[in-house]
Every structure is written in C-alpha cells, then in structure tokens.
C-alpha cells in the first residue's frame, strides 16, 4: 500500500518531509519522548492534524502533528502478500456460481493497516470458507463492486443476465452476494427478470462483516451454497439468519421479503407469508404450505433483464404539499408507486394531480405503508376517487417489490395499459389471494 493514504494538510507535509509511506516503520519524536511503530492509513473524514502509528503491541495511537519534533523512517514497509492456503476445491460436487456485487460477505482484513479487501478467486473463497469445498464446486465472479445503497436497476439487469448464463452453463444453483440494505428490492427485481428460472438463486449477505469472528456471513454463505447445490426447488430467494443464533437460516421468497431491522442478524422477514424453507446443519426443511416450485429444465428459460428506472416510490404523509407530488410526477417518471396510509389512501387534494398523470399515460399503483395487510380502495371515498382516477391497487404487494416490478413492467410492456395489467397480475408470488398471516 504505497503513498500517504488519507493524510492531508500538515500531517501529509510532515510525513512527506520524512519520505514516509503508509506501512513504513517510523520513529516519531515528540520532545523528549519517542513512539516507534508502523504508519497506518487515515480515514478520509478524519482531521489533518494527527498521524496514526500502530505500535508493536498492535494498538494504534494518534499523535498530534504540532507535538512532533522529528520523524525518522526506520524501515520500509512490506507489501502485504496474500497466499491462499491450499484447500480441496470441491471437485466432483454440484457446480455453484457465486456472483459478487461488492458487499462485505467475503472479505479479509489486513491487520497491519486495518484495510479490508474482498475475496476474488475460488481459492480465496475456499480459504475463507473451507466448508464450501464440502458442499459445492464454486465458480466465483466479481460482477461489480458497488455498495448496496448504490445498486441500481441496471445492476439488477446485469445480474439477471449472469444468472441466465449460469443456467445455460449447467450450474446447479447461483449465489449472489450483496450488501443487505437494498437486498429486498434486488430480490424482487430478479424475481421478475428471472421468472421461471429452473435453478435456485439465493441472494446472501451479512449483517456483521466477514472480517469479524462473529460474522453471520459464514453460516449464510455455506447454508446457501449447500442449498444451491442440493435443494429440490427453484426460484429467487433471500437467505439469511432465521434468528439471532448461528443455527438456522430462513429462505425468503424474493417478492415477499423485507429488511425489517437495521442491524440484527435476522433483519429479513417474510411478510404475509412464511419462509419457503429453513436450513440448518441437519438439512433443509421445505415449508409445504408455501410450496416452492421444483427445479426445471434449462431449455426454454429466458431472462427478461431490462428495467426502466423512471419510476418513483412515494410515501404519503400528513400535510404532504400538492407541489411535492406534482414535482415528482413532473420529474420525467413514467410511473409511481404510492405507499398510502391504511387501506391505500392519499389526501383528497392530490387526487386531481394523479388523475392528470394517469390520463397522460402514467402508471400509478397503490400499496400500504402498513406493510402488513392488503389495500382496499372501495371502503372510503378517497379510495374510490383514486380508483376512478386510474390508480392500480396492488393487493398485499410490498411497496419495495411494487417499485421493482413497476420498473420491470415499464421496460417490458409496449403500452401503459399493458404495464398496468402486468402490475395487477401475480407473476412471481408477489401478491397472495388470501390473507392468512396476521403478523
């Protein structure tokens, strides 16, 4: 790691004078005292008046530039070299493709500087997760390196194409590793783009990064890999911890899953349905009530990977100004999903703007910010007015799923009318006809 990573201003000047680089061993003299250790990088948001030294004991300490009388460079730093330990490589086992998107599920830490870097080869993956070699023969590929919050519809499309290639290439299953923030959206998007996919596609992440001994990544990845290799069902699912323990994984249908906690391991939840299966070291327990489709034949499967990002998700709130909605509708979007209140409402003064947008060819759909339960726009006047204005009620579809579906429907429909029809139709288990789960 060359240069002066993260150092600016006075700190950078001081280090430059000493011809020091990150990783070098320095003696920093301050008055009568001196501190000896390795220069480590500084984070971008930190101030420019301190340098950080890693002592021999492994501790970092920050030293104020103003106190430093002299910096002596004692030794040049060693370039970190990663040598993956030799492992069995899962030969003879079902082939599973692992698509990386930039989440921290498979990364290791440089204890010298504290930098974290992703695993990019099969050897590295096996060395990080040796048990993988017991369950599958892995083909890893880093498709992109994007934080979850920066993933866009175009990335979903790329992933869908990669999955289609894996299907054509005879892979038994696909894992997609991803940051968890927008995993719910991606799972829904891929469910539509990969409708009818004949193999299981598991989106996996971790709530604790894999550089930590307590990371949930290990169990999530190994459980998902063993299911990708051996589960008897197909489709797009999110696989994460079922609860706080490192024991059971829940397999959530891609269109019915939501991140419902900011930090816990079991943040993901199936809403309105039960998980389609649970995995533990003892095996896979498929939930007969949710009946996931069996594996199918690769022939005849075709992905529809196009998305039109010109769609918006608008959460209605009390006092939402008419101008706010008009600004959204006038921003060039072709469709809007509302997260309405209760059974699916927005305030009366917004109805006219919605009607105009629909009349001009826009697609407007209604979901509920209650998350649980189903919209019903026939109960109150506002609901009936919205229906009359052309709003499509989306039953118990999750708002995030509805947005992903709308982006997909807009890209895959010749007309607004057809897009509205697709939105109302259940394509990938995104709506249920009967509400049976109470919460």
């Amino acid at each position: 790691m060359p240069g002066l990573l993260g150092y600016r201003g006075p700190a950078e000047r001081l280090l430059r004078e000493a011809e020091a680089s990150v990783g070098d061993v320095l003696e920093v003299q301050t008055g009568g005292e001196k501190v000896t250790g390795t220069l480590v990088p500084r984070y971008e948001h930190d101030d420019d008046r301190h340098i950080v030294i890693k002592l021999k004991s492994g501790y970092n300490v920050g030293i104020s530039v103003e106190r430093v009388s002299k910096v002596v460079r004692l030794a040049e730093g060693e370039e970190p070299k990663f040598v993956a330990p030799k492992r069995a490589t899962g030969g003879g086992l079902p082939r599973v493709s692992v698509l990386g998107t930039g989440g921290t599920i498979a990364s290791r830490v440089d204890y010298r500087t504290g930098a974290v870097s992703p695993a990019t080869t099969a050897e590295e993956l096996y060395s990080l997760f040796p048990e993988l070699a017991d369950v599958a023969s892995i083909t890893p590929e880093i498709v992109m390196s994007v934080y979850s919050e920066n993933l866009e519809p175009v990335h979903w499309g790329e992933l869908a194409k990669k999955v289609a290639e894996a299907v054509a290439g005879g892979q038994a299953g696909v894992l997609i590793t991803m940051g968890t923030d927008t995993m719910g959206y991606a799972a829904a998007a891929l469910s539509f783009a990969l409708k009818g996919v004949p193999i299981p596609v598991f989106i996996v992440g971790s709530q604790r990064s894999s550089d930590r001994p307590s990371s949930d990544a290990f169990l999530n990845l190994i459980g998902a890999a063993s299911m990708a290799a051996g589960a008897g069902f197909s489709g797009v699912y999110v696989v994460m911890h079922a609860d706080s323990s490192d024991e059971r994984l829940a397999v959530h249908r891609g269109t019915r899953v939501r991140k419902d906690h900011t930090s816990a391991r079991d943040a993901f939840e199936s809403v309105g349905v039960e998980p389609v299966a649970f995995w533990s070291r003892e095996g896979i327990a498929v939930n007969a009530r949710e009946a996931p489709p069996p594996r199918g034949r690769a022939e005849g499967f075709e992905a529809r990977p196009r998305f039109d990002p010109r769609a918006a998700l608008v959460k209605f709130y009390p006092s939402m100004p008419a101008g706010y909605l008009e600004a959204v509708l006038g921003s060039g979007v072709r469709g809007v999903v509302f997260e309405g209140t209760g059974l699916g409402h927005i305030n009366a003064k917004s109805v006219e703007a919605v009607a105009r947008f629909v009349a001009a060819g826009g697609v407007v759909c209604m979901t509920s910010q209650c998350i649980w339960g189903r919209v019903d726009m026939n109960v109150y006047d506002t609901g009936r007015d919205l229906l009359k204005a052309g709003v499509v009620p989306l039953e118990d579809m999750l708002p995030e799923t509805a947005l992903a579906k709308l982006m997909w429907a807009l890209a895959n429909s010749p007309s607004a009318e057809e897009a509205r029809r697709l939105m109302a139709e259940d394509l990938a288990g995104e709506t249920t006809p009967r509400t049976v789960q109470r919460r």
Binding site: G58, N60, V61, Y111, A115, S127, P213
Partner: protein, 631 residues
C-alpha cells in the same frame, strides 16, 4: 528469605514477571451502550453462536483463534434486558464510548505519570474463546509510559488502556460454554507494567501498590473480582507464558511461585531430553482401540465400551521423561493431561504410569508393537470421543515435540488455589485491527484540564492522614484504605459518635467475615453498612450484632436494617432489664462468688451475655456486672 521460596535464584535465571492489572470502574453505564452495570440473577433470553478465526491479508490466522475454532465450540449466551441490549448481543454496532470511562482512564494515566495520547483509537483484539460475542475485545490505549512507586523503588508503566470487560462464564465445557451478558461491556482500565524480577512477594507488593494507586481516583468498583491481574512470566531462554485471571491480590505471590517452579522444572526436563541426544522429537500415532478392547484399565474400558476410541502416540527415546518430576508436581505428562482436559477429554495415560492405570505388561508390549516402538519410547494414550481424540493427539504430539524448548509460550489460567492450568496457545501479534464502528477521540486541552482538576491525593498520604487524624494504627489505616470504604468511613465518623477506630474496624472486618461465609457481598452496600453503623451508634443494638444484621441483609433475609432487627429479635435491652438480669445471675451464683471471688467473673459474664448478646454492648455489661459482684 524471600528467595528461599523459589527453587532457584531469580536473578541468575532472569526470572521476570510483567503485571497487567484490569480494574473495573465504578461507572454509571457500560463502555459502548447505556446499559446499567448490574448483575442479573435471572437470564431469561438466550442465543447460540459459533466464532470463527478470520484471516489476515498475509494469509495468517491467529494460532489461538484456530485452536479455539478446532474445538468446534458452540457458545450459549444468556441475557436479561435489564443488564444488556443488542450491543452486547453483537446485534447492534457499539454506541460512542462513555466519556466518563475514557476520562477515568485519563485520570489513572495522570496518577501514574503516563502520557495521555493525542488521539484515542479503539481497536478490535481478537478473542474467540467466546467471552466476547463479537469475537474481539474493544480496547484503546489512553496513556503511554509513566511509573509506579513501590516502596522506595519505581516500576515502569508501559500502557494505560480502557477496554470492555468480557462476558461472565456460567458454565465451562470443551464443546459448549455458557456466558451471561451482564458483565460484557463494563468499562475496565488495564495497566501494563514493565517486567520486574520474579521475587513472588515483590510481585505481589507491586500489584498491591498499583491497586492502591488506582483506588486513589475514587473511581474503582468495589468488591471481589473487580480487579484481576494477568502475569507474563518468563525465565532465561524460555518463551513468555501468559497467566490470566488472578482474582485475588493475595494469590499473586503463590501463582508466581507455582509458575516459577513449573517453568524451572520444564527447563530441567528439557536438559534431560537433550542429554539423550534428542534434537528433533519424532512421533507416531496409531489407533489402539482394538488392541485395548479387552483392557484391564477401568478408565479405558469405560471409554471404549461407551463407543470412544483410543489413539496411541509413540515418542522414541522418551521413556521415563513424561513421568520425570524434577520438582514435586512438575511433569511433562501433567502438561499433556491439561491440554487434553482443555479440549474436552479426561486426560491422557502415558507409559510411565501404565501399571498405575491398570494396564498389563502384555498390553504395554502389544501397544509398543502397534506403534512400532521399542522400550525406549514413551507412549501416550489419548482416549475419548472420536471427534476429539484426533485433535488432542495432534496437540499432544505438538507439545512433546517442543519439550526440548523447555518453557513453551502459552496462555494459562490462574486457579483459585494459586496454581496455573493450560488454556490455549499464545495469540500471535497479528490480532488487532481498528474498530471502524467507533470514531477516534481527539484529546482536547479542555478534556486534559478537566481531568487534571480531578487529580487525587496520593494514596500513601491519604493513609498517613487516616492514622494521624483518627489515631488509627498504620495497619488499620491501610486496611481501611484497601477495603474501598474509606470514603464511607470519613462520612460516618463525621456524623456518628462511635470511635473512629471502631468504625474502621467494623468497615474492614464485617465484609471480610461475611464474604468468607459466602454471603453475597454485592448486597453489603455502602448504604447497608452506613445504616447498620448508625443503628449501633444510636444504641438500637450492640456493635456485636452488626455482623448479624448485615448477614441477614446479605443473605436476602432482610431488605434493610429495620427488617433485620425485627427478624433477629434485636430489640435493645433497657438499663432496667439489664440490671435485673445481672442481679438474677449474681444471686443465683452467690456461692461461686464467695468461693472464687473475681475469678468467677467470666462464668457470670457468660451467663449474662446469654440473654444480652447483641442487645447491649459487652463493655457495658462487664462494668455493670463487676459493680454488682462487689456488692
């Protein structure tokens, strides 16, 4: 005289001990969340986790981490929302650190003349034995350098760190451990001292002085187990052994002595190994389950019949070395047994003790044939559950291979008996990386000034002032200071009429006595002590009854002094009632008094006290009784 306690000259053998003292702080909250610091008796919630070693950029995995992982251990954590939250459960990132705790660490650094760093960086120190849910301990250096005064000498301070305490162990096992989350995250200050000559009593004196210096800040937690010492012990040519968790100061010297003897014994065993010309130790392992199926050894028979297996590891030219005992209790065989026990087996059986363990000579011959060894080889039998035996046999072979080194660097635990037992290999250096969830703390001049204003009187001066102002003996003053209740003492003597020496004695003696009886000392709060002494002061009961009152509170039989008085029937005795009782005793014993005179006093005193104990001060009884006897 001190040196006589070691079987060798510590100077000549460069026997060194470095102390690391961990002091719990009396803080209002935990270090990385606002959870209160309280011990939960009930732990209704639970979850299970497995910790894994993680890999560094250099492809290295911490040896201690791999060791723990190989044990395939599942950790069960029990918790109560009253004393832990999702931060302790490793389900939520840490909150910003407690300013109070960081400033206390700065204050302690100041007391020790340690230089406070300009920026405090929290690190993750890998600890995967399960005692931290995250798999690491969060820790930061606050001060560098400084010195501690011990008698006339000075001991160098290396670092002052602030860190989170580990989870409380509920149940220990090789395959599964249970922890409580209530203690996890309690702020600790760790002081690492430069090593000193390993004279046991001197090391203990250093630990004592350090504890007193920290106490002078008035910010340390009360009670047993709130200060723990780790010792880094080494001698000439040997690797450093880390002894963790000496719970009582009074055990430090004993542990040092034990470890000194053990280490020197291992050096002597190594010399024997070298005398035999063994440079590189070979080992051969073979499955001996079938050979021993009909064994006469009860232990092995039980294991094999229970479906277990036996591996026999042979070490050529090692016959007699495993049982060799240069000092009482120091044997290579014992080291191997400890490794086996730490890994879930009952121990090992080696060829020097075959007969003792009930193995026949024929079996010995058969085992040697199996291992392809002659009588010059030592054999080690590792028996138990198949999943453990292979790992343990490998660890045993690894340990014997290092016998020529003498002392092997490892982490050991101090026992309550003042001995040490094997815990795990010593962690490598590459086990710390930055805690990216916590921004660094820039130490401002304002912080330094605030902390500087809190600098306490040195403990030596404080103790001297107690003996001067309250006419306490030097020893009593020191005991009072060490009790941690000197603040309470000052408050009580200022408002009670009791003699300071009486208050000091009660504050020192009662908690010690009750703690020896096994009473929960966390219930003997300063409030309970204060209320009890105030009741004595106002004559509600005699000072002799104070211990009974506090015992009742400590055992949870009474919530406060009033309830205890009620429960124990400690209604004080009126003067009239006492005089009546004395008159009765005197009249019943007229003859005895006539016969023995003053020598009858103790008998009569005993009789009066039968009814007056705990109700009236003994001194008062004795003076009234003497008067009555004169009449």
């Amino acid at each position: 005289m001190e040196r006589a306690s070691l079987p060798f000259d510590p100077e000549a053998c460069q026997f060194r001990v470095g102390l690391e003292v961990h002091q719990q702080l009396a803080a209002g909250r935990k270090l990385f969340c606002p959870c209160p610091i309280t011990k939960s008796d009930e732990l209704p919630l639970a979850f299970e986790r497995r910790l894994r070693p993680t890999q560094s950029e250099l492809g290295q995995i911490d040896p201690a981490a791999v060791f723990e992982f190989n044990k395939g251990r599942v950790n069960l954590y029990r918790w109560n929302p009253e004393s832990a939250c999702l931060v302790e459960a490793d389900e939520e990132p840490p909150h910003p650190p407690s300013t109070e705790a960081v400033e206390t660490a700065m204050l302690m650094a100041d007391v020790l003349g340690s230089r406070v760093v300009d920026e405090v960086h929290f690190m993750r120190k890998l600890v995967i034995d399960g005692s931290n849910t995250s798999g690491f301990q969060r820790t930061a250096i606050v001060g560098l350098g400084g010195s501690l005064r011990v008698g006339g000498a000075k001991v160098g301070v290396l670092t002052v760190t602030v860190e989170e305490d580990s989870a409380r162990v509920l149940k220990e096992g090789a395959q599964a451990r249970e922890y409580a989350l209530d203690r996890l995250g309690v702020p600790l200050v760790e002081i690492a001292l430069d090593h000193v000559a390993g004279v046991p009593e001197h090391v203990e004196a250093v630990a004592l002085s350090l504890g007193r210096a920290l106490r002078s800040t008035g910010r340390v937690a009360r009670g047993q187990g709130t200060i723990r010492q780790d010792l880094n012990v080494s001698l000439l040519g040997g690797q450093v052994v880390e002894v963790k968790g000496v719970q009582k100061l009074g055990l430090v010297a004993k542990v040092v002595r034990y470890e000194a003897t053990r280490q020197m014994g291992l050096v002597k065993i190594a010399e024997e190994v070298k005398k035999r010309g063994v440079e590189e130790v070979e080992s051969r392992a073979a499955d001996a389950t079938d050979v021993l199926r009909g064994t006469a050894s009860p232990v092995l028979r039980r294991i094999i019949q229970g479906g277990g297996v036996v591996t026999c590891v042979a070490f050529p030219r090692f016959a007699g070395l495993l049982g060799l005992e240069p000092f009482p209790g120091v044997r290579l065989g014992k080291e191997l047994a400890e490794i086996a026990r730490t890994n879930g087996l009952g121990g090992v059986i080696h060829s020097d003790e075959f007969a003792k363990q009930g193995l026949t000579e024929d079996e010995g011959v058969a085992l040697r044939a199996l291992a392809g060894s002659d009588s010059g080889a030592a054999l080690v039998l590792v028996a138990g559950d198949a999943s453990r035996v292979v790992t343990v046999a490998a660890l045993v072979a690894e340990r014997v291979k290092r016998a020529p080194l003498g002392v092997v660097g490892e982490t050991r635990a101090a026992t309550d008996e003042g001995e040490t037992r094997y815990l795990r290999p010593r962690p490598g250096a590459a086990r710390m990386y930055p805690e990216t969830d916590i921004p660094e703390i820039v130490v401002t001049d304002a912080m330094k000034a605030r902390v500087g204003g809190l600098l306490p009187v040195r403990w030596e001066e404080k103790v001297a002032s107690y003996s001067r102002e309250y006419s306490l003996s030097e020893e009593a003053a020191l005991q009072l200071y060490d009790s941690g209740d000197s603040g309470l003492f000052e408050e009580l003597v200022s408002r009670l009429r009791l003699e300071p020496s009486v208050v000091a004695a009660m504050l020192v003696e009662i908690p010690v006595r009750l703690s020896r009886e096994g009473v929960d000392e966390s219930r003997i709060t300063p409030e309970a002590l204060g209320a009890t002494l105030a009741a004595v002061d106002s004559g509600r009961f005699a000072k002799e009854a104070a211990v009974d009152v506090l015992r009742a509170i400590g055992r949870g039989e009474a919530r406060d002094v009033d309830e205890a008085v009620e429960r124990l029937g400690l209604k004080g005795m009126g003067d009239e009632e006492l005089e009546e009782a004395i008159a009765g005793v005197v009249s019943r014993n007229r003859e005895l008094i006539a016969e023995k005179g003053d020598r009858a006093f103790s008998v009569l005193m005993g009789e009066v006290m039968k009814v007056a104990r705990g109700k009236v001060d003994g001194k008062k009884v004795s003076s009234l009784l003497r008067e009555a006897m004169k009449e």
